[in-house]
Structure formats: C-alpha cells, structure tokens
C-alpha cells in the first residue's frame, strides 16, 4: 500500500460519516436500478424461454365454426409454419364453496398427440384422458390456487345447457394464459374466471362441434410478414364467422406482460437517475470541500515533485472508494430486493418458474456510470487544485469579501438579530454554494414526493373505478345477447333494487394505420350504475350519435373529439362503420369505447338486444340473489364489484405499494443523507470563522444560531422549490406508468407534501443538532493557529 493510499485510508476514516452518507445515496439509486433492470431481465428471459419451449403461437383467431378441412387452407397460407386448431368455449361453472357462478374458458386438447402450439406445462397430476367414466379436465393454476383445487377433485360446468361434473386430472400452465383475466378485463379475477383444458372429442361432442373448430393458433416461418398472414387468415376464415385474426401484440396475456415490463423500464431509469445525480452532486460537494481543506497539502505534494496526475488520481481514488462502497451496497440491496420482489409477480403472472436473474450488464453499466459520475464530481475540484501554482496554493485562500446582505440594504434588517444578519450575509457571500445547498435540500424534498404520489394514485384509482365509475353491486352477463325482456328478468331476481342494461360488441377501432380491438360498450345515455366519466371527473351523457373513447385510446389512435374513427364489428354480420368521437373518458385499466345502447343496436341492425346488466343488489338478500343467479342457466357470468376491487388491491395495488415502500425508504435515506452532508460541509467550511466568534466572546448558542440560522433560511427557500420539483418529477415518472393495460393518475395530496416537509424538517433539525454538538468540539486554539 503506497503512502498516498495510506493517507487516503486515514482521510476516509476521518470522513467516514459523510462518505457513508454519499455511498448510501448512491447505493439507493443503484439498488433500484439493479432491482428493476434485473426484474425486467428475469421477466423477459423467463417469458422468452417459456414461449420458446412451449411454442407460444404468433397469430390467433376466433370464429363461429369451421370444418376441420379448413385447417389445410390455413396451413397453405405462405408464411404459416404450424397450425393448431381447436375449440375454446366459455361455460358457466359451479365451484364448490363459491356462492356466485364462475366462468370457465374450456380449451380442447388434440385427439392424437399433444398441442402443436401453446403447449401446456403440467404443474401437478396429469393431462385429461378420453373415455374415462367421469370426464376429466385440467385446470389453470391461477383458478386452482384461488379455490385450492387439487387433482382428484371435481368441478361442475354447464355444457350446452347440461350440467356435467368433471374430475380434475391435473393443474397446468399455458403460455397463452400467463395472465389469466376475463375477456375485456384488464384486471384478473381468479375467483370467478378460470381456464380449462379437456379432450377435443368430449368438448366437441357436448357442443355439437365434432369435426369443426372455433379457435386457431398459428406460428410463422422465419421472415414471414405477420400482417400478410393475418390478412390471409381473415380471408380464409371470413365465411366461418371469424372475428378477425390478431398477432401477439394484441394478445391480452402477452400485452399485459409486455406492459408490466414497460412500467419497470420506466421506473428503472428516471428515479434511479435522480438518485445517482444527487449522489454525484454530493460527491462533488464532499470532494470540493476535502480538496479545499487540503489545499496546502496539495501544494506540498506538488512542491515535492508529485505530478498533477498523481495528485488527481489520489483524489479520484478518494471518490472511487465511495463509489465502490456504493456499488457494493447497491448491488447487494438490488439483488436482495429483486429476489424478494420477483415473488410478487406470481400474483399476476403464471410462469413454470420465475427466478431472479441478476442483470450483470446493468451491474457493470451502473458501476461505470457511478464511477463516471463520481469522476465528474471530483474532476472540477481536482483540476482547480492542481492548476493552482504550488506557491499560491501554499497561502491560505484570500478572505471572502463581505457586504451588507440585500435585505439589509433594503432597510428591513433592523428587525433582524446579529446572528440572522450574519447568516444572511454568509448566504449571499457564496451564492453558488448557497444555491447548491438549497438545490440539494430541494431535491431531498422532491424525491420524497414521488413514491407517495404512487400510493395516492393507486388510492384514487380504487375510489374512481369502483365508487365514481362503477356503482353497481354486480354485473350479470348472458350466455348469448338477448332481448330486452332479459332485463326485466334480471330486475325480478331476489334483492335486485335497480338494473341497467349493457351491450358488448367486439370491435376493431381504426384510425389511419393504428387499430385496436376491444369491446364496444352500449350503455344507457345517462346511466346511474356503470357511468362514463371524464377527467374532471364529471359524468358524460352518451349522445344519440357518436362514440366516447378512453383518453388513452384516443391518444393511441391519434384522434380528437370531433374526428371520425372506423369501427369494424367482429361479431355476427361483419360491418364497418364510421363514427365520430364525441368525448373522452377517463379510465385507468385497459381501454374502452362507449355508445348509447340504442344507438349501438341501431348501427348493428339487430334490434334491441342486451349482453347483460349492471345491477344493484340489496345486501340483505345477497345469498338469495346469488343462489338465484346460479340457478339461471342463461346467466353466463356474474362479476361482483367488491371482489374485483379486492383483486385489484391484492395484486396491482399491493405490487405498487411494495415498490412505493421501497422507494419511500430510499428517498428518506437520501433526504437524510443530503441534509446531513450539507450541514457537515457547512460546519467544516466555517470551523475557523465560528471559532473566532467564540474567541471574541460569542456564546456557543449564539455561534450555533448563525450556522443553524443559515440552514433554516436555506431550508425555507428550498421547501417550496422542492415541492414544485417533486410534483414535476412525480408527473414525469408516473407518465412512464401509462400503458394500454394499466395507468396511474398523478395525484398530489396535501398529506404527501406534508410528509415531505416533515421528513426534511426532522432531518434538518437532527443535522443542525449534530452540527451544534460538533461545534462544542472545535478546538479554539488550534482553529485559530491554523489561521496564519
């Protein structure tokens, strides 16, 4: 170990609390970056491996019914590598212990061999077999887990009007249902929606579909154009009631995984970057101060023949030591948190296994970025120090020029005490340094705003979605769209207080080259249950003509109210309609489009039909209501609002809540680090001056109040600045959580601001207390001796 390195080690030890503060801030930024990037890597590589191994298809199509012979036509389409046809049918389930009916999507397994695409991963038990006495069925893991189903158990389903009981042969996963959510829902509801697989023969026979199929999955040969294949598939399937083929990008499960990765990508950049910038800034202030204090030592080293490079490297090593500690803590923290967080994704995503993978590249990049930040942080100070001719550096720095502070010249100073005047002059004397301290305090305030705005955003979504928008208790849907009479049947169910109809039609909305598939919802013009709400939030009245779409959908289609979009109906008679956009709705999950129900039915030329109804149920008759619903075969689905809200709380809200807690912890550490560091630097810069005051007869309290006064003034200036900065930062970062499936609104509450102010105030008070204690330790004699 060279002697300069030994000096380094001892200097570091003397500066350890500040060095640790900087290293911790850096570690927080790096931990977040490493955690999120590694989660992205874990999700992406697990997904890709799963898709590859289990042959996830690339193009999908649903239709009414086509004879198996059409399969050959599909296979003949140029660019198609593999074709998998089968049956996928939605049925009503009777789950033991579940009061309401549940919905199952049953998929067929081929008669011979295994699935060519979307192959299953067997988690438990075995795949169902044909020709057993009791029909066998395999169940998706999410639904099985929600109901604690195990192989050997039974489940009843209504197949084509006939209730049948099946034996569960096994629990499986499918690359097609990594995210198991009901159609047209961005949120999972594993209690009332499940996915199943059974042999083709039994399923087809039950629905009179033997020899036919209604679901297609295709894989493409390398280099094939997805668009061309989709167009060809649509042509082949057009006569068979096809609803339009789509690629992976429109596949609901795939898109949800993609969106989650996109959210993580947003989080992995902006927030850590702020932390790392703060760390670089802190390194700079610590090093500038250290170098200023060692001015004479630097001069001596240079006079004795050390080169600029040697001196520069010495101080760079100083900050490098901090970086190494920061990277070390950061990597460990990131890995620890990542390993814990990866489990959280089991709440949403069903992969055969989801292991935490450390993103080595990001570890390396993050280390280099931090080293670079530290280097930039220290470079300026070192350059100034080595540039100084040694002879000049040997002399103490010229005394600063003081002048009456601005407020004093304005004549209001008489009301200030002497120590407050000194504090003001100090601030004004070094405007750059005061400005930087102020900026640091503002940053400390700002980063505290971000995590809590996440929490408040989630709380707002919960209120908005399930109190303002949805005021029904239950949403009932029919097996097939039915006549208005169905509505009065709903109204006559026990406990139903009020019911409003809705009509769902699968459509493809198009504007220019952009297109999206979703369920167009027909609702009463000014319904009281499932309402259409704008950003205000104010209820939008659905007019007789025109369509209201989610603001997010409008921005994706790049259209504004007043402009027209094309709606292609994907059900029944295929039609294309041009409809004007008449309003933008606010929503935070998935995308939606709404029309007045009569207007929609007129456009569809089908007369008055409803898909279901939103109903309010008297809780006193809840059990009777559910029992009646279960006994009504025409009711396919029953979505209970409260259980959806619970699902959201347990999944999305919980995962965001977890991230929020981690971020908030980090932000608090950083805020303390910044403020403590500022106080330390301010104290060390002023040790001599304050000692002189003490010698001149000022009491410790009076001297302390100069220092504390300065910190208080700077904090008071920094707080509003920090709140504004934090609001902007929160807006920026939340905009990265703005995907087609999940969005968060920017909600800034007084409680959020108050918390940030409180943390900064407590950190400032503790730092001031610490500085005041240090002040007592200043050796008056030696502090003055060094003044020479």
């Amino acid at each position: 170990m060279s002697l300069l390195d030994r000096k380094l080690a001892r200097d570091l030890r003397a500066l350890k609390s500040q060095a640790i503060a900087v290293a911790l801030v850096m570690a927080c930024g790096l931990a977040m970056m490493i955690m999120t990037r590694s989660l992205i890597l874990s999700l992406e590589s697990t997904r890709d491996a799963y898709y590859g191994k289990h042959r996830f298809a690339e193009v999908f199509a649903r239709l009414k019914r086509a004879p198996n012979a059409v399969r050959a036509e599909l296979a003949a389409i140029p660019g198609v590598a593999t074709v998998q046809t089968g049956i996928a049918i939605q049925v009503t389930l009777d789950v033991p212990g579940l009061p309401e009916p549940a919905v199952g999507l049953i998929n067929s397994l081929p008669e011979r061999g295994e699935l060519a695409l979307n192959q299953l991963h067997l988690r438990m038990g075995r795949l169902p077999q044909s020709r057993t006495t009791l029909g066998e069925i395999a169940v998706g893991e999410a639904f099985a887990a929600a109901h604690r189903l195990a192989p050997g158990g039974t489940i009843s389903a209504v197949l084509n009007g006939a209730k049948q009981t099946f034996r569960l042969s096994g629990i499986v996963l499918s690359p097609e249902f990594v995210f198991e959510a009901p159609p047209n829902s961005a949120l999972p509801d594993n209690r009332t929606y499940g996915v199943f697989w059974m042999p083709y023969k039994e399923l087809a026979t039950a629905f009179d579909m033997y020899g036919a199929f209604n679901a297609v999955s295709l894989s493409l040969s390398p280099g094939a154009s997805e668009r061309a294949v989709i167009a060809a598939v649509d042509r082949v399937l057009a006569p068979y009631g096809a609803r339009g083929a789509f690629g992976r990008a429109d596949h609901p499960s795939h898109r949800r995984v993609d969106d989650e990765i996109r959210v993580l990508q947003g989080l992995s950049v902006a927030f850590p970057l702020v932390f790392l910038s703060v760390a670089a800034f802190m390194t700079n202030s610590v090093m500038s101060r250290q170098i200023a204090l060692q001015r004479e030592q630097i001069a001596m080293l240079k006079a004795c023949g050390f080169s600029n490079r040697q001196v520069g490297v010495h101080y760079f090593k100083f900050s490098l030591a901090i970086v190494v500690a920061g990277v070390g803590f950061g990597a460990l923290g990131g890995m620890f948190l990542g390993t814990r967080l990866v489990g959280m994704y089991h709440l949403f995503f069903r992969f055969p296994s989801l292991e935490f993978l450390l993103d080595h590249r990001v570890l390396l990049t993050a280390s280099l970025v931090s080293a670079l930040a530290a280097f930039i942080g220290v470079a300026g100070a070192v350059r100034r120090a080595v540039r100084l001719p040694p002879a000049e550096a040997m002399r103490p720095e010229a005394p600063a020029r003081y002048r009456p502070a601005l407020v004093e010249r304005l004549g209001v100073a008489r009301i200030f005490s002497a120590s407050l005047r000194m504090a003001l002059r100090n601030i004004q004397r070094r405007p750059v340094r005061s400005g930087l301290t102020c900026l640091a305090l503002a940053l400390a305030t700002a980063i505290l705003i971000v995590p809590n705005s996440f929490r408040d955003g989630v709380a707002y979504v919960i209120d908005f979605q399930w109190d303002i928008v949805q005021r029904q208790t239950v949403t009932l849907s029919l097996v097939e769209p039915g006549p208005p009479r169905a509505l009065s049947d709903f109204r006559h169910l026990p406990g139903v207080v009020w019911a409003e109809p809705f009509r769902y039609v699968p459509v493809e909305l198009r504007a220019g080259p952009v297109r999206r598939r979703l369920a167009l919802q027909g609702l009463p013009a000014a319904g009281t249950l499932n309402r259409v709400i704008d950003a205000e939030p104010r209820q939008l009245r659905l007019p007789e003509r025109g369509i209201v779409v989610s603001a997010k959908l409008a921005s994706i289609l790049r259209v504004r109210p007043g402009e027209e979009i094309v709606a292609r109906v994907l059900e029944g008679r295929e039609r294309e309609l041009r409809v004007p956009i008449v309003g933008l709705a606010e929503d935070f999950a998935g995308m939606a489009a709404y029309m007045e129900i009569q207007a929609l039915n007129r456009l569809l030329l089908e007369g008055d039909r409803i898909t279901g109804a939103h109903v309010v149920v008297d809780k006193a008759q809840w059990a009777a209501f559910l029992a009646a619903v279960k006994e009504t075969p025409r009711i396919a689905g029953c979505v209970i609002k409260d259980s959806l809200r619970d699902g959201f709380r347990k999944t999305t809200a919980e995962s965001i809540g977890l991230l929020q807690k981690i971020y908030l912890t980090f932000a608090t550490i950083v805020a303390f680090g910044i403020i403590y560091n500022s106080a330390r630097i301010s104290l060390s810069e002023r040790a001599r001056e304050l000692a002189t005051l003490r010698v001149l007869g000022f009491s410790r309290g009076e001297v302390g109040s100069v220092l504390v006064g300065e910190l208080v003034i700077l904090t008071l200036v920094a707080l509003p600045l920090g709140l504004a900065l934090g609001s902007g930062l929160a807006g920026g970062i939340i905009s990265t959580v703005n995907t087609e499936t999940v969005r968060l609104p920017l909600v800034l509450t007084a409680a959020n601001y108050a918390f940030a102010v409180l943390v900064v105030a407590v950190a400032s008070a503790l730092s001031a207390l610490f500085a005041a204690r240090k002040l007592a330790d200043i050796d008056l004699v030696s502090a003055l001796k060094a003044l020479d």
């Binding site: 060279s2 002697l3 300069l4 030994r6 000096k7 001892r10 200097d11 003397a14 004479e296 030592q297 001069a299 001596m300 240079k302 006079a303 004795c304 023949g305 050390f306 080169s307 600029n308 040697q310 001719p389 040694p390 002879a391 040997m394 020479d788």
Partner: protein
C-alpha cells in the same frame, strides 16, 4: 565587503565550476493593467553547489517569489533562469515536476506535513517517488528524530514538525534545499536546532541551501547573504567564515 554584482562568482567557488543556478534579469509580474504587481524586477544571481545562502528582506521584497522561481514552483515573466545549464523558464508542467522531484527539497514555514501520516510516513511519501533516496529512518536520524518516527504531526512540537519537514526535504538527496522562513514559527531554542539540521545537511551532503529569513542575525551562518527590496537585490555580501549557529547573537 559588498561587491556590486551579485552574479560575480563567489570567492569560495573553485575556479572553473559552473553555477547550479544561473539567473539574469529575472522578473515576475503578477496581474494585468492597473492591478500589476512586480514581485521580481529583474535580478542577476549565480548560486553554486555546496553554498549556504541567506536571503533577507522585508515582507513583499520578493524573497519568496525568488525561492518559488528557483524551486520550479512558478515560472518567470521575463529573464533567464537556468539550472545546470537547462532553461527552467522553458520547462513544461511535467519537466518542472521532475525537476522538483529529483533536485529540490522544500522546507516551508508552516511545515506542511500531511496530518494523517506519521513522521516516518511523511518522509516515506517522498522517498517513494524519487530515484535514489536515503532511508526515511536515516533522514530522520539526521535531524535527531530517530525516536519520534511513529508519531503523527499533531503529537510533535513545532520544532519537531519542522525537522520532519527537513528530513522529508533531504531524504531525496536534493542538490538544492530551499527553506522559506523555516524558523518563523519557532522559538529561539527550537529555531537553532532546526537551523543546525539545515547547516549539517548542507555541510555533509554538499547541498546548496537557500534560506529566507526576516532575521538579519542569521546572515552570519551563510556563505553569501543577499538583501532584497522591491524585487531587486539591493545589497549582498560574502562571509569569510560561516559563524557556528549556536554562537549567533539571536
């Protein structure tokens, strides 16, 4: 005896010796325009190996500026400054660094020790980077600090700290030892031990020693004495015999 031209060879110098430093019309001017300060106004000087030189003068007379020029800490604004025939004025940063590293030892009034290193480590710091150093222990023994080697600066008295600084300066076996007010911060007794250490190095190692001082009495310990005022040499003399330091009427 006050010869008019300080550049003239000293009588102590053996015929045919080249001077270590050859200085002509050396000027150092700081600042620009109305803020110009002339620290050195053009002086001539020859300094030889083995000499002990004392520079006298009031504050602001240019002593320290001259010392900084000789030590390669600063570059002249004008004039000739040669060391062993090499033009120091034309040296770049790197060459000046090498010059300081190999040829020059500095002793400062404020000692300038690294507080986080012990006496031995402060000396070793320098011996690590030069070509043919003496052992740090030997250097410290030369200044009578063999028994205080593992103390930190804060644990040493002012005189001891200054002697560590001298040990640090001479451990590299420099040809030139430049001392800026080495006793300025010390009491008489301590000052004497420090000056004796410098004189001993000069005598035993043949090092050219240049000492700046306010204290005119110290002039008697020198071979030659120069008095500076307003950036010029206004007076110089050559002592026939160097007075022993303990005999100086301090």
């Amino acid at each position: 005896m006050t010869p008019s031209d300080p550049a003239l060879p000293s009588s102590r110098r053996r015929a045919g010796d080249e001077p270590l430093f050859f200085v002509r019309d050396l000027a150092r001017i700081y600042g620009e325009g109305s803020a110009t300060v002339t620290a050195l106004a053009g002086l001539d000087l020859d300094l030889y190996a083995g000499e002990l030189i004392v520079l006298l003068g009031a504050s602001g007379s240019g002593k320290s500026t001259l010392l900084n020029q000789l030590g390669g800490l600063d570059s002249p604004s004008r004039g000739i400054l040669r060391y062993r025939g090499a033009d120091l004025a034309s040296f770049g940063e790197e060459e000046l660094t090498d010059f300081r590293r190999d040829a020059v030892g500095f002793v400062f009034q404020a000692y300038n020790l690294i507080p986080s290193l012990t006496a031995r480590e402060n000396v070793s710091l320098i011996t690590e980077i030069c070509a043919d150093p003496m052992a740090p222990e030997d250097a410290l023994a030369l200044v009578d600090l063999a028994d205080r080697m593992d103390h930190f600066p804060a644990q040493l008295s002012g005189g001891e700290q200054q002697r560590v600084a001298i040990a640090r300066a001479i451990a590299k076996r420099p040809e030139v030892l430049l001392c800026d007010e080495p006793t300025g911060a010390l009491d008489v007794h301590t000052g004497i031990t420090v000056l004796e250490a410098i004189e001993r190095i000069n005598r035993e190692l043949g090092t050219l020693a240049v000492i700046i001082t306010h204290n005119a009495i110290l002039a008697d310990m020198a071979d030659r004495v120069f008095t500076l005022s307003d950036g010029r040499i206004v007076n110089w003399r050559e002592n026939d015999r160097r007075a022993p330091i303990r005999h100086l009427a301090w």
